[in-house]
Amino acid sequence: MDQDRGAELFRQVVVPHLGDALALARWLVGNSNDAEDIVQDACMRAFSAIGGYRGGSARAWLLTIVRNTALSWLAKQRSSSLVMVGDLADIDEVSAATQAGHADLQSTPESELIRRADQQTVTAAVAALTLPTREVLVLRDVNGLSYKEIAEVLKLPIGTVMSRLARGRQQLAAVVRRVDQ
């Protein structure tokens, strides 16, 4: 394929979905720095494979590559302990907590602190799901793919996608109920 046309297609197909790609990679591997490396690697693969893109959902096409890149990365890292979520966010929490201790200089509104704490609780619960359940849930509720697209990305029957999604949401429901109260 002509280089210029490839570059143009890359800008149309890949670049608009970088946010989704980063979100998926972060949920699969557990931290933002590795997620950026994985998405960059996936984008290189996407660019060299752009000629094989045959229309259809560009997001699902890119996320398939991101997911496969993330899984190979995970396979390499398997020995070390994995999947803890939050890095910069954690440090922000620490500084927010420290700031809360200095009442005279506190600038973060209480509602914002509560929102962050709730987010952390839900985030931890999602991170605690098993990888097969988590990836279905994230592709659906974070990336907004349809069941059919998820089935294509994961190469699974649609029935399996549905049962994993139902199970994942059921496991989270108790945590969400606590946070909402």
Partner: protein, 256 residues
């Protein structure tokens, strides 16, 4: 009373919430949910979970990351020019000449129009002044170097020594990132009585240089280097007090 909801029912409720049922099925399931409190409760729980996960913060696509990705798609320079492209090459060199002329002309105008190129001390003095005008002179507030160092490290990957000098009368207040001449740099903030001291650290590999006192932008300043950094401290402290602070910092930073 409470009854068991089967996996099939659960999958159908999820599909209903996600809008994945066809019109006929959706109508049928909506009717069942309306008539069954247990099903309605299960449907609400699914909806609440879906909303909570959808509301989680998403990572930002930083400007820097976007540039890195876009750069992947820049066509690589051809290894050799094919004869058919010769006309293009000639045209390109003319274009390049035009661009270079325009750049030189415009930067010359810019250079003549700007009164002077800001020195690094002036940039530090400006950053210090700006921090005093802001609501808080620090981005991370902590007297604990174990918070300040990882915060700076995670933000910009540079973390200078951040000893707490409360014992010597200069408590560590926290840290911030200053962008000086387009370069994000870590700044440590100390306090002495009512005075604030900013210490900007630039990574460097040169020899250690002992403190030099200077003044810029109405502040007393001291420059020195060591521990792999070139430091610039700025404050409205008296020059002698600032010099004492710097020597205390050096002693503490050199300690293991």
């Amino acid at each position: 009373m409470s009854r068991f909801i089967t996996e099939e029912e659960l999958a159908a409720l999820n599909a209903l919430v996600d809008g994945e049922l066809d019109a006929r099925e959706a109508t049928a399931w909506s009717a069942r949910v309306a008539a069954d409190l247990e099903l309605a409760a299960a449907r609400d729980a699914i909806q609440a979970t879906r909303d909570a996960v959808g509301a989680l913060d998403r990572p930002d696509v930083s400007e820097e990351f976007l540039k890195r990705i876009e750069a992947l798609a820049v066509p690589t320079a051809p290894v050799r020019m094919r004869p058919a492209r010769d006309w293009a090459e000639g045209w390109q060199s003319i274009a390049a000449a035009v661009v270079i002329t325009a750049l030189v002309a415009s930067s010359a105008t810019y250079y003549l129009a700007s009164p002077r190129v800001a020195s690094f001390e002036m940039l530090v003095a400006d950053a210090h002044r700006r921090s005093l005008l802001a609501a808080s002179p620090v981005d991370v507030l902590s007297s604990d170097r174990h918070t300040v160092k990882p915060w700076l490290d995670a933000r910009i990957g540079i973390s200078p020594p951040a000893p707490d000098l409360a014992g010597q009368g200069y408590p560590l207040v926290g840290g911030r990132v200053d962008v000086l001449g387009r370069e994000p740099l870590p700044t440590l903030v100390y306090r002495h009585n009512e005075h604030t001291i900013s210490v900007v650290a630039r990574p460097q590999s040169g020899p250690n240089i002992s403190p030099t006192t200077l003044a810029s932008g109405g502040y007393n300043m001291v420059e020195w280097s060591g521990n792999g950094f070139a430091f610039t401290a700025a404050s409205d402290l008296e020059a002698t007090e600032l010099a004492t602070f710097v020597s205390d910092y050096q002693t503490a930073a050199a300690a293991p």
